[in-house]
């Protein structure tokens, strides 16, 4: 049971990583739940907007103002996607 859940989480994280690698055009990027935008050189404020939109398209969700603002790291972003999509985390 636990094993299955972890698999799901990894899948979301992996899909997020793929989106971010595409947007930033850098195949070397690997994300963990602790990664923040500051850790990745190319992740500036302009790229940030594109990442949000590309993630929305990837998971077919729409974030609202209060969703995005408090996010501190990739882990919280992943949790938000789980919450919004209903993909069990």
């Amino acid at each position: 049971m636990h094993h299955g859940n972890t698999m799901k989480k990894d899948t979301i994280l992996e899909r997020m990583s793929e989106v971010i690698r595409d947007v930033l055009d850098n195949d070397a990027i690997t994300l963990t739940r602790q990664t923040t935008a500051d850790d990745i050189e190319e992740w500036d404020s302009l790229a940030h907007i594109t990442i949000i939109v590309a993630i929305e398209k990837e998971f077919n969700v729409k974030f609202n103002l209060s969703d995005i603002k408090p996010l501190r790291n990739i882990g919280e972003f992943e949790d938000l996607i789980v919450l919004k999509t209903g993909i069990k985390g």
């Binding site: 989106v19 595409d22 947007v23 055009d25 302009l46 907007i49 594109t50 939109v53 590309a54 103002l65």
Partner: protein, 594 residues
Amino acid sequence: MTNYFTYPLDTTGLLRKKRAIRRDLSNRKNLDVKRVAILGGSTTAEIKDMLELFLLHADIRPVFYESEYNRYFEDVMFPESGLKDFRPEIIYIHTTSLNIRRFPALNESSEVIDGLLAGEMNRFADLWERIEQDYGCPVIQNNFELPHYRILGNLDAYDIHGRARFIGLLNLRFSEEARKRKNLYLNDINYLAAWFGLERWHDRLFWYSYKYAMNFEAIPLLADSIASIIRAIYGKAKKCLVLDLDNTLWGGVIGDDGLKGIRIGKETPEAEAYTEFQRYVKELKERGVLLAVCSKNDETNAREGFTHPDTILSLDDFAAFTANWNPKHENIRGIAGSLNIGIDSLVFADDNPVEREIVRTQASEITVPELGSDVAKFIDILDKTGLFETVSLSADDLQRNLFYAGNAEREKQKEQYASYDEFLRSLEMVAEIAPFSPIYLDRITQLTNKTNQFNLTTRRYTLAEMQAIAADLSHITLYGRLRDRFGDNGIVSVMAGVIRGAELHIDLWLMSCRVLKRGMESAMLDSLVERAKMRGLSGIVGYYLPTEKNGMVKELFSEMGFSRLPETPDIGTAWHLDISESYNLKNACITVTP
């Protein structure tokens, strides 16, 4: 790569893979560098990035200037801005309804509202006027999209206090200005927003968060629209639509189903859709796009299709007609050759994915939209990516198909004469060759920017640059217009040179290929020499700058009696003609006026 840029645009892919697409497109050779200033009334960062992709895709490498947020007005009006130093070649003003300073208040009188409208209009007119004075470059200006909400509901469209009405009137005024001002081109975001869907266009989250005036996903659409205008300004729009027949212009296979079996007309929904598509194609032809057929068919069968009682298109509508069993990419190359137009100015429409793929891979210069096999979508696929965008409708555009019909008639006549000169004289050609005059400058600029084959230097000019050399005493300019007994070919040739010392240096010499081998180049050179002599000059220096397309004029100067100069430009050759002594007139078949 091209799949990102055909309709429907892959907005998700474009946004997500932006950097990789830019990397791939930037690595190509022969890109024209253009300095483009984006002056925004809202955030423009993503617009700049997307515009870069669409321009690179059109072989233009943009260098950008971007105004600070909402400083579009100040950047133009106050010379200390960096815009002057940037020396823009194109200015794009990205304003939207969010930049309208004040809408009518509900208690205001009709006079006050008229004043508001005039005030808003004048603010923009001042901008355009100032740009004209300081830069003289083309300005691309958004009009205004309908508002996010309507406080008066339906009444908003017609009560004098309504915002929808106010925007409508302002758009009308912008249209009038754009017709009057030679360098002003409207980007119709009012249409774009409606097409995209106003509900999605007005993405409030993106406005509140990042000050983007529109949905992020509409930005590729906007960029495509601006790039289409820029392509048209620089003469890079497509000229000819090459069409398949079976299941493209009618439903069914004429060779199998016979004339009675093909679907066109009003009988079924499918037949109606093909009829409407034929009508769309016919309208393209009427506005100056050349049509050609490229079909795998027996020629007799193919032609028979156009005798159907419900056909909209007829055989006369096509400037070229190819129906055989040869590979289509070979036939299409033949079509480009017979029409004397560059192969990269062709668009190929075929319902068959295999044929599309073969043409795409074997002749990559040809644009092949993803037409699909659903006739109900054909029009959108051809219409919505600005392939045939035009910035003006010249009289020549409306007559172009007549020229080609005339050409076919002339070809037939050719066979009946003993010598080619005799044939040329029988055409009773009369040329008008004179310095650039204001009424022809539009056409002169258009011809200069789209002629690729008979073009010695392939230099491109904006209308403003043409106006400048026309007025400059150190330049000699000539246009040539040719009539014959089959009709008026319009303006077909352009020459311009600059005087340095006792010599005239030819910056520009080009001619439309529809009058090739008519002696027009000789008549033009004769006139240029005559004018150079009148100015007391002793020699003419000509340059040939090779491109992929102008091989046909490689030896032109030699044929015209110039001698090759040892010192040459970086790429190409330089030639000299002594006119201090006698000059033998070269034209023998054309009567020249004035």
